[in-house]
């Protein structure tokens, strides 16, 4: 195209010179400036940026990582480039998951695993990330298309499946176990799983997988009325798992009875979802790159601009068997954890001793008291909730196992007999 435009400019130039009537020069000039503009546009057609081998801290317009590497220079993050070693799995590529994926992609994360079984619809356009021309594509395909354009350095894996089915769950588990990206990594093949799904069933499935794999994960959610949300860090055995207590949600702050639920299942806003995705990825970056405080639970009530926080200890009577195993392992590892903490404290003390004492005298006998004794009250048990948080579902009622005799007589009946009995009833 550029060649044709150049020829056109030359033609216009010779035409201008051959014209004897100078009154026509103005319109020729106008045509020339139009062609100039088109030439300029033709030069700026989108070009895919090529892959970058190392993250550079050089401050030039063409470096996609200069502003991120500046975090290191400013002392916020010790080693930003480590982000390229990390793998993050995002389950649910909807209003929160897709935005979280874009944020991590722009941050230069090493590898993203994306899971969703849904397709992009026009009804999704009130949220961020997906574009109208992607309607009809699977969310995973559309996400890979956009994300690989934004940052080709990120390794993207997409899984179009439903993790709650038996088959989907097996694929989900084996994809998390796969260690080919970083064979030296301990544990599973990913550093963190982010749950960005919109229903309780799928959250329970992520919980099941992470408990079995001893995999740290973060849960996120936005309420059905679109005005509140939350993020939660779950470390199997150390913090409450998702099945330890009924899920915690932020009370909307409006009287539940005045809420109009008739005729709609869920509302959504790009704002609330964007805020929750931002909180989730911020917590992710702090967790992976080891800076600041990683929040165990952070709620967001948009109507009152209220952000409740809390921590939850695991439930020793949790209904999830894998959670109980992780709890046992965590308790067994306590001596090793204590020794490590002590060694760290001593190392810090020895460097501190080398410095001059901060205060030469201590007229008022002020001393620093160790607050580790307070730790036991730090984690709240599930029945004492901070203001503004409520349980989404009731706990299961206590129930007694019936005497063994009844269980025995059900065992005698053959499964095939029962199936035939039901089919016989179905037949007429």
């Amino acid at each position: 195209m550029e060649v044709e435009l150049k020829e056109m400019l030359d033609d216009l130039q010779s035409l201008r010179q051959s014209l004897s009537d100078p009154t026509l020069h103005a319109s020729i000039d106008k045509l020339q400036s139009c062609v100039d503009h088109l030439t300029h546009l033709a030069k700026s057609v989108p070009v895919r940026r090529s892959k970058v081998k190392d993250m550079s801290a050089e401050v030039v317009d063409s470096n996609p990582y200069s502003r991120l590497m500046a975090l290191q220079r400013m002392g916020i993050v010790e080693n930003y480039e480590r982000i390229r070693e990390f793998s993050v799995a995002i389950v649910g590529i909807g209003g929160v998951g897709s935005v979280a994926a874009e944020m991590l992609t722009r941050c230069g994360i090493g590898r993203l695993l994306l899971y969703d079984y849904d397709k992009v619809e026009l009804a999704n356009m009130n949220r961020l990330f997906f574009r109208p021309e992607q309607v009809g594509m699977t969310k995973t395909d559309a996400a890979v298309q956009t994300l690989s354009d934004i940052n080709p350095d990120v390794v993207l894996e997409s899984y179009t499946l439903n993790i709650t089915t038996v088959q989907g769950f097996e694929t989900f588990m084996s994809s998390l176990r796969n260690k080919t990206f970083c064979p030296s990594k301990e544990g599973s093949g990913v550093d963190l799983v982010l749950s960005c799904v919109d229903n309780y069933e799928a959250r329970m499935v992520v919980n099941q997988a992470c408990n079995e794999l001893n995999q740290t994960w973060m849960e996120s959610g936005v309420s059905e009325d679109a005005v509140s949300g939350h993020i939660q860090l779950l470390i199997p055995g150390e913090t409450a798992c998702f099945a330890c207590a009924p899920p915690l949600v932020v009370a909307s702050g409006v009287d539940e009875r005045t809420l109009k639920r008739e005729g709609v299942c869920a509302a959504s806003l790009p704002t609330t979802m964007g805020v929750v995705a931002g909180l989730l990825v911020q917590n992710t970056l702090k967790f992976l790159l080891k800076f600041g405080h990683v929040s165990p639970y952070l709620g967001y009530s948009s109507l009152k601009d209220y952000f409740p926080t809390m921590a939850m200890k695991p439930n020793p009577q949790c209904s999830n068997a894998a959670c109980l195993e992780r709890q046992k392992e965590y308790i067994l590892a306590k001596p090793a954890r204590d020794a490590e903490a002590k060694a760290k404290m001593e190392a810090e003390a020895s460097t501190a001793a080398a410095d001059l004492p901060l205060h030469a005298d201590n007229e008022w006998n002020i001393s620093v008291v160790d607050d580790s004794g307070l730790e036991s009250t730090g984690g709240t048990s599930s029945d004492a909730l901070p203001e503004g948080l409520i349980h989404e579902l009731p706990s299961a009622d206590e129930f007694q196992k019936p005497p063994a005799s009844e269980a025995l007589d059900t065992g005698i009946v053959d499964l095939e007999d029962l199936r035939r009995q039901l089919e016989a009833l179905n037949a007429d």
């Binding site: 849904d118 619809e121 439903n162 709650t164 089915t165 038996v166 769950f169 229903n199 309780y200 069933e201 329970m204 499935v205 919980n207 099941q208 059905e224 099945a243 009924p246 639920r261 005729g263 709609v264 299942c265 209904s319 999830n320 579902l393 009731p394 706990s395 299961a396 009622d397 129930f399 196992k401 019936p402 009844e406 269980a407 059900t410 065992g411 009946v413 499964l415 029962l418 199936r419 009995q421 039901l422 089919e423 009833l425 179905n426």
Partner: protein, 174 residues
């Protein structure tokens, strides 16, 4: 259980409760659970037939009993409306309930999630959570699907979103 009609309540008390807490990944315990599911479904179907309130057919679509398919129907203004019915048993069952799907109604009502999953959040999910693991497939049909059909089908018919199969056939001929 406040707010439920006395009929549903008395039916519910007659469906046998389940005792084995096991999901499709639990091997022999799942087989035991499956037997209990069949016993409850058989009792519920028999009860519906003897009360002249037969309203569904359901059977396992695979030998593992993790996928179920069938039909359900609802009578409105003396006309019978019948729909395909399907669901998977989730890996976290029975901690989470099966997500019941009516694929033919996908996109026709707002009280449905994509893929034709009926919305059970308010009227059914808290009950299921409270009664885990004693409720099974039969309870999910009785307390989840039946009230959903009773609330939604009259609206869908009256608004013209769904047509009776005889009407649909005659309008095609004309």
């Amino acid at each position: 259980m406040e707010g439920w009609d006395p009929n549903t309540k008395s039916t519910l008390t007659q469906i046998p409760l389940l005792t084995t807490k096991a999901g499709p990944r639990d091997g022999a315990a799942w087989t035991q659970r499956l037997k209990e599911e069949y016993r409850a479904l058989i009792a519920y179907t028999q009860m519906n037939k003897s009360n002249d309130n037969d309203w569904f057919r359901i059977s396992a679509a695979n030998p593992e009993g993790t996928r179920w398919t069938g039909k359900c129907w609802y009578v409105h203004n003396l006309l019978k409306y019948e729909f395909d019915l399907q669901f998977d048993i989730p890996v976290t069952y029975p901690a989470t309930a099966p997500e019941i799907e009516l694929p033919e109604l996908d996109g026709k009502t707002q009280k449905m999630y994509r893929g034709g999953k009926i919305c059970l959040t308010v009227h059914f999910k808290p009950l299921w959570a409270k009664n885990c693991p004693r409720f099974g497939i039969a309870h999910a049909l009785c307390l989840g699907l039946a009230p959903w059909l009773a609330a939604e089908i009259p609206i869908l018919v009256d608004s013209g979103m769904i047509k009776h199969k005889d009407d649909a056939a005659s309008s095609n001929e004309s």
